[in-house]
Subunit: 223 residues, 2 copies
């Protein structure tokens, strides 16, 4: 025991798992799946790839043990194998944010200039939510809201956001949140609100980070 060949084989296994995350499209898949399970059709639209190619990438993730599947009729739903995988994804994102030279430029190119877009911290939001002097809006798709959301939040998916602003109580600050720091939904929502003269900020990061911080969560119909 302790020989070169066995050691190489062991560490190759770690490499295989990392390699599964080593592709932009698969990283996008994991990011979406961190919000809850999805079927191939939805995922392919989400990452802008053909269904066949999406299926291929999902197979790579499944072979590495990062995702598992569940069949429901003709549909096959994919989900992350465990919360550990979510942790791994968050760790990868943190390291990239801290050490990848061009990440800031790439994020700015995708998200737009965030400098004028104020954020509110998780702890502060949790306090103000308890005090009741803020409205929290989940702007992710409805299925993601149903899977789990910030306790007390209401769901207005970004697609229908502009049309539903009038339902939000007036005179109270709005906080929008979505999938995470690299998700544009909340940014877009805040921009729309500001344009209409409302006080609005986005939550730092998104729902998975809220869960990770052990803050209050609700699921399904309950809010």
């Amino acid at each position: 025991m302790g020989d070169r060949q066995a050691k190489d084989a062991l560490f190759d296994a770690f490499g295989e798992v990392a390699k599964a995350l080593g592709n932009g499209r698969r990283a996008e898949l994991v990011d979406v799946l961190a919000q809850g399970e999805r079927h191939v059709d939805e995922l392919s639209a989400e990452i802008g790839q053909t269904v066949a190619n999406t299926s291929f990438h999902l197979r790579v993730l499944a072979n590495a043990g990062l995702v598992t599947t569940r069949r429901d009729g003709t549909r096959i739903y994919y989900r992350l194998a465990s919360a550990r995988v979510s942790e791994l994804w968050l760790a990868l994102r943190d390291v990239t944010a801290a050490h990848h030279e061009q990440l800031d430029e790439l994020a700015a190119a995708y998200l737009g200039d965030r400098d004028r877009l104020e954020q509110i911290g998780r702890i502060e939001l949790a306090e103000r939510l308890a005090a009741g002097d803020v409205v929290v809006v989940d702007v992710r798709p409805a299925t993601e809201f149903a899977t789990g959301h910030i306790s007390g939040a209401r769901s207005i998916p970004i697609d229908e956001f502009a049309a539903n602003i009038k339902d939000l109580p007036a005179g109270i600050e709005v906080v929008a949140y979505c999938r995470g720091p690299y998700c544009v939904f909340a940014d877009d929502a805040v921009r729309v609100l500001r344009r209409r003269g409302r006080r609005a900020r986005r939550l730092e990061d998104g729902f998975p980070e809220w869960v990770r911080a052990d803050l209050p969560v609700a699921a399904a119909g309950a809010s």
Copy 2:
């Protein structure tokens, strides 16, 4: 903003970082570097590769931002870019251990049968270390001990272990530790001790995990 091309480029950046870890030899490098900085020559011996190839892999890690360098004379020392990278490595190891089908077999092939090798938990060891009824031995190379070690541990590198057992006080249990769960040094040390009729166990995991758990650490000459 929010267009496909920009999103793909952003997530490709996450993929690049993951890809840097996506090779067994580079995973080994990161595992060793988690113990402290090393120069290329040492690293090439550690992973059993030519210096040129080791240098190539280190360049890949450096380009991804995972490691940084420091020159000292003709030597170039590599180290992990930050504690975040160490976290990422631990997360990758956890996920692989939890979800890779063959990991147990591969680990057994490298480490040998561990079933008869008792481990002691971190918390229990910390308590017994405070009580003083246990001797803790760091069996990693001396340079790793110098960089940082469990407070109160003594250094007996595995190479010189058998020759130095006699220095250990008799009649008291010995706990050996090394680099982590996939390091053979502590296992080997415990086997040698048992063979000589001494009470001995290995610490669960290794030094990086001890640090991560915020347990007492010492560095350099101090013990």
